[in-house]
Every structure is written in structure tokens, then in C-alpha cells.
């Protein structure tokens, strides 16, 4: 993160008829990074994106793009003057223009056509320039939309739920492709999504949004394994919550044994464990039992019942040594400790 910031949003606030959509939204995006804005629907992420692009005016706060104030202290730069490229959810390709003309729309001057060729090459659509948008597949339309946004070399590219219109296999491929295109172009990008897997897999930095503000920002590994609070933990992936008792030095006693943590809490705490952090060991004298198994092929979820009758889930790979009814003992690899709820 040594690059200078491309976008700085500070204290953005916006409400529609009294309903807040943004509530003290702060975001810093460094040049050349891909940032995902992840949150449940209605958390204000699209409003945030549209405010950065200039399609919405916030009630308060400031936005700086490329070191220039584009919003705040009486300034509200028109969207066409912000140097922001936007990729829309439904792509918004101009239906009455060829691919070439769509891409050239944001370009001026004589070298426009050579730039069109460059970005078509970048997105792997050489020779598609003469097609009309309706002659393209969903994935191709997506790439044209991206090429059009990249063509004027914007400070940042904003993508609004870019993969929501594609079917599952196409989506996985496009995620990888779009990430690679953005990296090849050296672009700074912010994309909005409500899909955890998507956010974690293509972003350098994941920011989690809730109720109009960002609750956590960090690398994908960071936010997944160190979620800031129980809500974020559940939102980002499967979570098992256990009661625990913390002692001095970060030792926490739980029903699954004692774990060492960095917590400064004392007394009753809530412990969050990802299912893949719970390791079952076959043990005929173990006090827990595998009661059910959900098999996915590449991995599986085991439902394990503990002596007190409660169950936990454990995500494991192929484990021919474990089947329904087997007795096990459990150990925990990792855990995150929160104040008791």
C-alpha cells in the first residue's frame, strides 16, 4: 500500500426521504489496487459507487479523485469531468452503436481508433469491433463494457455488481478474466458486490459495508480470518459460535478445549471458529459423534454432536476414515474472540 491514494471518501452522508443510505462513509483506495465493496443489499454500496462517479450528490462529506476534490466544500464536479470509468450492472452498452463506436465514445482526437484497437486487444475481443451489442454473448458484452470504461484511461474504474448477469460457470471465468484485464491495464478499480466469494476472490482489498458505513477493510485473508465483529464473521462465511471464558494472557477455555488468543478480554467471551478450523480426530473413546455428512466432492461438511447435545460443523477434505456414527475428538486450529454477546 505504498502507492498514493486514487480515491479518498470522507464522511459521506446521504439519505432518501429520511432513510439513510450513506452514514459516515469513509474509503481510501490506493492506485493500482482492486477494492471490493461488499455488503448485503440495501447497505448503500451502490449509492456509494454512484456518489463517487457523480451520479448522486451526497448530503455531506468530501470525495477526492486523483488528488483533486470532486465533491465537498461547495464543489460538485459533473460526472463527465471526473475521469471515472463505470461498468454498469446491465453493461449499458449503447444498443445503436457498434462495439468500436461504443468504445470510442469516451475518446477524443486522432489516436482514438488506435486506442480502441488497444483495449479490444486487452480484453481479448480482436475483430469484434464491427459487431452490434446484441450480437454478443453476456461475457463478451461484459468485456466490451470494461474496454469502454478503460479506453479513456480513467483514474479509477467502478464496477456495479459486474457479474450478477452471468450464469455460474461463466461468472467464475469472467472473474478471473476481469481481474487479469484490470491488472494488465494497471487500473485502480472499485467493485460492488453482495457475493462474499466474489469479493474475496478478485479483490486486493475487501471492504465490508453495513448500514451506510464501512465496518472493516483489509486483505481478503485478513477480513475472512480476523472479522471485526460477529456480524461480519457470519456475513463473510460459515461461522461456529461458542461460549468461552477468557483468562489473563489470552487463554480461553471453550467446550472444545483451551485455545490461545491475543484477546485482552477477561471473563465470558464469544468465540468464533470457521468450520475448517475444527479438526475431527477418529477416536473410539471420543465424546463427540459424526451425525451427518454433507458431501460436495472437493470437500465436505460434517455435522458433529457434542456430549451436551449441541452440534458444530467441520469442513474437511476427503476423509475415508470418517463416516456417519463414528466417534471423534475435536481440536481447534484457530479462533477469533469477541466480547460476550
Amino acid at each position: 500500500m505504498t502507492n498514493p491514494p486514487a480515491i479518498i471518501c470522507h464522511g459521506l452522508t446521504k439519505s432518501y426521504d429520511g432513510t439513510p443510505a450513506l452514514n459516515g462513509f469513509d474509503l481510501t483506495v490506493h492506485q493500482g489496487t482492486i477494492v471490493s465493496l461488499l455488503g448485503p443489499s440495501g447497505c448503500g454500496k451502490t449509492t456509494a459507487l454512484r456518489s463517487i462517479a457523480g451520479f448522486e450528490s451526497s448530503d455531506a462529506g468530501t470525495i477526492r479523485i486523483g488528488g483533486r476534490t470532486v465533491f465537498g466544500s461547495g464543489v460538485d464536479v459533473a460526472p463527465e469531468k471526473r475521469r471515472v470509468g463505470m461498468v454498469f450492472q446491465e453493461y449499458a452498452l449503447f444498443p445503436h452503436m457498434t462495439v468500436d463506436r461504443n468504445i470510442a465514445y469516451g475518446l477524443q482526437g486522432e489516436d482514438a481508433s488506435s486506442r480502441v484497437g488497444e483495449v479490444l486487444d486487452l480484453v481479448g475481443l480482436d475483430g469484434f469491433g464491427g459487431r452490434m451489442p446484441h450480437e454478443l454473448s453476456g461475457g463478451e458484452q461484459q468485456r466490451v463494457a470494461l474496454a469502454r470504461a478503460l479506453a479513456p484511461k480513467p483514474e479509477v474504474v467502478l464496477l456495479d455488481e459486474p457479474f450478477s448477469n452471468l450464469d455460474a460457470p461463466q461468472r467464475d471465468r469472467m472473474r478471473r478474466e476481469v481481474r487479469q484485464i484490470l491488472i494488465d491495464a494497471g487500473a485502480t478499480a472499485v467493485f460492488v458486490t453482495h457475493d462474499q466469494e466474489e469479493a474475496l476472490s478478485i479483490a486486493d482489498v475487501v471492504t465490508v459495508m453495513r448500514d451506510g458505513a464501512i465496518v472493516q477493510a483489509g486483505t481478503p485473508t485478513d477480513v475472512y480470518s480476523r472479522p471485526g465483529d460477529p456480524w461480519t464473521a457470519s456475513f463473510l462465511g460459515d461461522s461456529v459460535f461458542l461460549d468461552g471464558m477468557a483468562e489473563i494472557g489470552g487463554k480461553v477455555a471453550t467446550a472444545l478445549g483451551e485455545i490461545q488468543s491475543e484477546t485482552a478480554e477477561r471473563g465470558p467471551v464469544t468465540v468464533m471458529v470457521r468450520p475448517e478450523w475444527i479438526i475431527p480426530h477418529p477416536d473410539p473413546d471420543g465424546n463427540a459423534t459424526v451425525v451427518d455428512r454433507e458431501y460436495f466432492g472437493h470437500d465436505q461438511m460434517l455435522l458433529i454432536e457434542r456430549p451436551d447435545g449441541t452440534t458444530v460443523t467441520s469442513r474437511v477434505g476427503a476423509r475415508p476414515d470418517l463416516s456417519r456414527g463414528d466417534r471423534v475428538t475435536l481440536s481447534i486450529d484457530e479462533a477469533v474472540v469477541y466480547p460476550a454477546t
Binding site: 457523480g54 451520479f55 460526472p79 463527465e80 470509468g85 446491465e90 449503447f94 444498443p95 477524443q108
Partner: protein
């Protein structure tokens, strides 16, 4: 086959007319290529062009203001601007004609003689005001359908508002503007009431004069066929623009951001919309009411021609009933037995609806005089012609209803032992009844306003409000014409109101 019968009442006479005119070939050619006919063509073309351009300017402007700006009360403005559509063109013409001129209403009130508003300017004004709502409605709907993300995308790529309008919005609107313009052109070319009251010698007025005033009716027949030919070209073009007007692949999820109007822009918008609504709606109604009030001490009731009221009600109700009955086989074929023949049938129903009524009437007159002796100028022929030309209105909404009926419901009835006819009677018709009734109401409404076919085909002694308005207006009996016009508007308001209420229920 049964469904093809529904079009015979006008297809056969037009065919017979073609044969007859071709038979009299020498005469026909001399009429068709005479200096007079070419002048007539030029006059009609000029009027059509002027009306179309004006309707586009007003219609697109009003659509943009009411859909894309933050003008207060823009929904109400939207309704008001579309309202002149319910006033027949000859009523608007009547009000301008009777308000202007040395003996007009303004002259009587102010005591200063006014120039009379008739001829080309009068016809232009009256027809523009009664047709621009077509452009307005079509373009406003298209403006709402345009995905605002396209305009956002263009602005994000650095385009100014003006460039976005020119390169993105306008090209998206072009098919709709084209469709609206062709509709206006067709309406203008077919209009008889306004041009004849305004004494502007367009095609329809000359056809009528040739028919009514001469022993040799061949010229009327030739001119009718020429007008049918021109109308068919426009209808064909309109069908083509409609087919290609499918730029919109999905409904936009977001409504467009509206343009904030400055103080002066707001004032300009209100003045523009206000004058359109005043000229097309407020003024005509006020003029009619003023004539009633100015009725030289006559009791209002005595000015109303009750015979004409009865004739209008009778003719319109019968036409609506026959059209609803005929619509059933057409929509069942069009929806359930979709093939090339049923597609042709549907298209011909639409063509029948779009042909100028005066030409249809001329063809029917020639045909019934020769082949239907006893039925010549009978109520039966008139009703059948009404029902045939307005059939498209009945099939339109009935088709929409039937499209929403799951064919599985009918199959279930068949599976439970009911034959096709029993299923039609007990399942299909009850399910599409709301659509049929709405279509019937629409037919009632348009029959009520119909003028040229009624004028030519009505039985002796059969009078309608439309005929009454027209003949009183022609004889400058403005108080009498105003009384009939107000009654016509009042009666039309009832089915109109029901249609609007139904549409509200449907959208709610």
C-alpha cells in the same frame, strides 16, 4: 374460416371498387392524372407535413418536460396534455371557427371584428392539437423505458448533457418519434371533420364533394382508391418502424435522474405546457359553454337534439356489441392457433382500422347500391361497417387478456369432458370478459365520434351527434353545434372514465 368473414364487409366493397374503376379505365386515368388531382395531392401533403412537424415538436417537448424534469405536478400535466385526444378534431375545429371571424364569439364579446381562422392555418391548428398527444404518449413511454444507465455511462465517458441527448437519448427515441409521426400523418390524411369545417380542400373533403354534388360518382371512387393507396403506404411504413423499435431489451431498474429546472426554465416550461393545454382543451370547452350560455334566451334542453342523442347511443352500443362478438374468434385464432393465416388476419384487422373512413364508406355505398339493394342505407350496413373498422380496438384488449390465460386452464376443461365450444363458452370467454368489455367501451367511444362513414351510410332520418355538430357547424349554427358537442363530450366521458379506472386497477 369463420374469422375471415369478419373482414368481408369492407374487403369485398373495396375489391369491387377496384374492379369498377379499372373497368372505367379511360375516365379513371384522366381523373387520377388531372391537374386538379395533383393540386389536391400537394395540398394534402402540405397539411400532413405541417401537422406532423408541429405534433412532433409539441409532443416530444411535452414528453421531455413531464418525464425528465423536476417540474412540480408533472404527473397532472402529463394527464392534461394527453386530454385533447378525447376531443374529436371537428369539435376543436368548430370551437376555433366559431370563436374567430366577424360573427364569432370574440367579435361578439369585444365588439371588434376578428379575422376568421379557417383554411390551411385553421386545419393545421385544429389537427395539430388533436394529434400531438399520440406523439406525446408514445415518446413519453419510450423516455421512461430508456435505460438511464446508458445516459449515465455516456456522461461517465465525458459527454456533456447536450451530447448525451444528441447521441444517446435521441437515437433511442427515433423509432418512437417515427411511429408517432406516421400515426399523426395517417390521422391527418384520413381526417374529414376538421378539414371540411375549416373549408380546406384536402383529399377527404374533395371526395365528399365529388360524391355529394355530382351525378357521375366515378371521380369520387378514383380519388378514394388513390387515398387508400397512400394510406396503405403509410400503414406499411408504420408497421416497419414498429418492428424495428425494439432497442429496449429489459426494463430499467432505476428511474432516470430528472433535470433540475432553474427558475426561468420552470416558467418557460409552465408557459409552454399551459398554452398547449389551453388551446387544445380549455379553450374549446370554454367556447362551447359560452355558446350555450349565449343561446339567445333558449332553454338549454331545447337546443339538444334528442333524436341525435338516441341515434348516437343506439349506433355506438350496437357497434360495440357486434365488435365484441367478432373479436372472440379473431383473438382465439391469433393467440391459440398462431400461424401465417391468423397473423394475416390480425394484420388486416389493423389495416381496416387504419383506412380513411370516407374511402371505406364510398366503397360500401357503391357496393350496396349495386348488390345489396334493400340494405342500401340501412342501419344494418352502418353497424357492420362500424364494427369492422373498429374491430382492432376490441381485439387489442381482448388479446392482451387472452395472453394472460394459461392454456393449461383450457386443456383442463377439455380433459374434464368439455368440448372445444363448451370450453370456449364456459372457460375462455368468462376469463377474457374484462378485456372484451374494455375493448367494447373503446369501440363505443370511437363510434360516437365517427363522422364520414355515418354521413354517407346512415339511413334517412337517422341522426347522430357527430353529424349534427358537423352540419350545424357548416351552416354556422354555432349554438346548436356547441350544444351537441357538449353532449357528445359528456357521454364520451362515461366509458372513458371506466377505462381509466380499469387501467388504474390493472396497474395497482
Amino acid at each position: 374460416m369463420a374469422a375471415v368473414l369478419v373482414l368481408i364487409p369492407i374487403a369485398l366493397p373495396i375489391g369491387a371498387l377496384v374492379v369498377r374503376v379499372l373497368g372505367a379505365s379511360g375516365d379513371a386515368a384522366s381523373v387520377l392524372f388531372s391537374q386538379r388531382t395533383l393540386e389536391l395531392l400537394a395540398r394534402s401533403a402540405l397539411l400532413t407535413a405541417l401537422v406532423t412537424v408541429a405534433a412532433i415538436v409539441i409532443g416530444v417537448g411535452a414528453a421531455w418536460i413531464t418525464v425528465r424534469t423536476d417540474l412540480r405536478g408533472r404527473t397532472v400535466w402529463g394527464v392534461l396534455v394527453a386530454m385533447p385526444l378525447v376531443i374529436p378534431s371537428y369539435v376543436i375545429a368548430l370551437s376555433f371557427l366559431s370563436a374567430s371571424g366577424p360573427r364569432g364569439l370574440f367579435a361578439r364579446i369585444t365588439g371588434v371584428s376578428q379575422p376568421v381562422l379557417d383554411g390551411l392555418p385553421g386545419a393545421w391548428l385544429a389537427l395539430t392539437l388533436s394529434t400531438f398527444p399520440y406523439v406525446f404518449l408514445i415518446v413519453a413511454a419510450a423516455l421512461r423505458r430508456i435505460d438511464p444507465a446508458l445516459e449515465d455511462a455516456a456522461r461517465g465517458l465525458g459527454a456533456s448533457r447536450r451530447r448525451v441527448f444528441r447521441t444517446i437519448t435521441l437515437p433511442q427515441l427515433r423509432p418512437s418519434i417515427g411511429a408517432g409521426a406516421l400515426l399523426v400523418a395517417l390521422y391527418t390524411l384520413s381526417d374529414f371533420g376538421a378539414v371540411s369545417l375549416m373549408r380546406f380542400d384536402a383529399f377527404t373533403r374533395v371526395i365528399y364533394a365529388q360524391y355529394a354534388g355530382r351525378l357521375d360518382r366515378t371521380p369520387a371512387a378514383v380519388l378514394s382508391l388513390a387515398l387508400i393507396g397512400i394510406a396503405l403506404v403509410i400503414i406499411w411504413a408504420e408497421g416497419r418502424t414498429r418492428g424495428s423499435a425494439t432497442y429496449f431489451s429489459h426494463r430499467p431498474k432505476r428511474t432516470a435522474t430528472v433535470r433540475h429546472l432553474s427558475r426561468t426554465e420552470r416558467a418557460a416550461a409552465i408557459i409552454a405546457l399551459g398554452s398547449v393545454v389551453t388551446a387544445g382543451l380549455v379553450l374549446p370547452v370554454l367556447v362551447l359553454v359560452a355558446w350555450m350560455a349565449d343561446g339567445d334566451g333558449l332553454v338549454i334542453a331545447s337546443m339538444i337534439d334528442w333524436g341525435a342523442v338516441g341515434g348516437s347511443l343506439l349506433g355506438s352500443s350496437l357497434a360495440a356489441g357486434v365488435a365484441m362478438a367478432a373479436a372472440i374468434p379473431v383473438v382465439v385464432l391469433a393467440v391459440r392457433y398462431r400461424n401465417r393465416a391468423s397473423a394475416w388476419l390480425e394484420r388486416s384487422v389493423f389495416v381496416a382500422f387504419s383506412l380513411p373512413h370516407i374511402t371505406v364508406a364510398i366503397a360500401v355505398v357503391f357496393f350496396s347500391v349495386r348488390y345489396l339493394g334493400p340494405f342500401y342505407q340501412s342501419l344494418t350496413v352502418l353497424i357492420v361497417v362500424y364494427a369492422t373498422v373498429f374491430l382492432a380496438q376490441a381485439t387489442g384488449s381482448a388479446k392482451a387478456s387472452l395472453l394472460q390465460v394459461d392454456p393449461a386452464v383450457e386443456e383442463a376443461s377439455r380433459g374434464l369432458g368439455h368440448g372445444p365450444w363448451a370450453t370456449l363458452r364456459s372457460v375462455t370467454i368468462p376469463l377474457i370478459r374484462p378485456g372484451l368489455l374494455a375493448g367494447g367501451a373503446l369501440v363505443f367511444l370511437t363510434t360516437m365520434k365517427e363522422l364520414p362513414a355515418t354521413l354517407l351510410l346512415r339511413p334517412t332520418g337517422f341522426d347522430t351527434l357527430a353529424v349534427d355538430i358537423w352540419s350545424a357547424g357548416n351552416e354556422l349554427l354555432f349554438a346548436q353545434a356547441a350544444a351537441s358537442a357538449l353532449v357528445l363530450l359528456a357521454i364520451s366521458a362515461v366509458p372513458m372514465f371506466l377505462l381509466v379506472v380499469r387501467q388504474k386497477d390493472a396497474t395497482a
